[in-house]
Amino acid sequence: MSIWEYANPKKFIATTTPLVPWLLGVSIALLVGGLIWGFFFTPDDFRQGSTVKIFYLHVPSALMAINVWFMMLITSLVWLVRRHHVSALAARAAAPIGIIMTVMALITGAIWGQPMWGTWWAWDPRLTSFLILFLFYLGYMALWEAIEDPDTAADLTSVLCIVGSVFAVLSRYAVNFWNQGLHQPASLSLDKEENVADVFWYPALVCIAGFVLLFVALVLMRTATEIRVRRIKALEARMRS
């Protein structure tokens, strides 16, 4: 039994459909729990005051914004190499979730930045990188929408995703070079000294788990939807001929 069996659209739908409500339920429970824990039961930071509570939204959404693109890169490669339709459709299904996460990271970042740096928007390397990532998501989704033939669209968006990834990394480096920035170093660091205090960290972990599960649930649901759209197209094409 190989993992590629789930690349069959029917098998994929049959396997994932019963899972989705459970995943969705658990992820919402984790999110509600984590956010309530973070919002009501954690102390304010001595320096940042209550704005530290934005942390529970900002960090998970920023993490997801990048990881969703990474997942799209992998599924695009799988499509180009192994020609499994589900893989290409999963990339398509993930992009809108990724762009929402990017927007959320940008907005919470801007709201957090206002009291901390005294400005809504700073051309800080990290924020700027997310803005560029947002543009990449936008172009990727627009290309999917513009091309009629689904396999052509899958091929071209996959090529764009791969080339885009290389340029996204280049942009990250370029932006760093261009402006050293106000942003604190990434909060998620294995180095204990830099790490956020445990009081803030545990509810954040719950929130991150919630975001990840929510993404998995949504991606499974949306991939199934894309598979059904393809099935409608295929059936209608055959009925016409």
Binding site: A142, L143, G164, L170, F177
Partner: protein, 218 residues
């Protein structure tokens, strides 16, 4: 392959559009900026590197959708695809031809336009060097974007949306090189990065572009 390059250059010269339009656009953008930000010389000196680079980038963008669209419409593209030329070579030549018709004239004209924006005297050599090293990357990245959107009606707008984010690193290093040159700092690092992006683009993007062309010709 030389034949293709010669043909594309001949077409660009005879059809007008090629050399002239991009340059005229570059000139107009540069002339419009002082109307927008005011005539103050110090301010113009400050923003000149960025304006010149952004204007060059937009001028290069303007003619991208002609790279493959014309050959697609008149049927040359499938004929080229079935010819002995490798499609990767076709994409490479198209990128080079686009650079010769837009990037090269922009590079040569930019120093002259620098005067209009009161560019710092020390920056001219850096402006020229950064454009000479950076505009080939703009052409090659654009060729890839054009290959992605060649079969689409109204592909031009979509192509801008796809290509502009890819231009970010080139723009940053290009403008930064001029800015550092103007301030008398060492501009070697951004120039090296620009050269790296250009070399990398020319080495790898023809393969991505030809893959996209094959898919679009199917």
């Amino acid at each position: 392959m030389i034949a293709l390059l010669r043909r594309d250059l001949a077409l660009a010269v005879r059809a007008g559009g090629g050399f002239g339009l991009g340059l005229a656009f570059f000139l107009i953008v540069v002339v419009l900026v002082p109307f927008g930000v005011g005539p103050e010389a110090a301010l113009l000196t400050l923003i000149a590197p960025g304006i010149l680079w952004v204007a060059a980038l937009l001028a290069a963008l303007l003619s991208l959708d002609r790279i493959f669209a014309l050959d697609f419409e008149d049927g040359s593209l499938p004929l080229l695809a079935t010819s002995p030329l490798p499609l990767e070579g076709v994409a490479l030549i198209k990128g080079i031809a686009h650079w010769i018709t837009t990037g090269l004239p922009l590079t040569l004209a930019a120093p002259a336009l620098g005067f209009l924006l009161n560019l710092a005297p020390s920056a001219y050599v850096w402006l020229f060097a950064s454009l000479a090293l950076g505009t080939p990357a703009l052409s090659m990245i654009g060729t890839f974007g054009a290959a992605l959107t060649v079969g689409l009606r109204r592909g031009g707008l979509l192509m801008s949306l796809l290509v502009l984010p890819l231009y970010v690193p080139t723009l940053i290093f290009g403008a930064e090189a001029v800015r550092r040159g103007a301030d008398g700092l060492g501009a070697a690092t951004p120039l090296l990065m620009l050269a790296g992006i250009t070399l990398g683009s020319f080495a790898l993007l023809p393969f991505a572009a030809s893959a996209a062309l094959r898919v679009n010709l199917k």
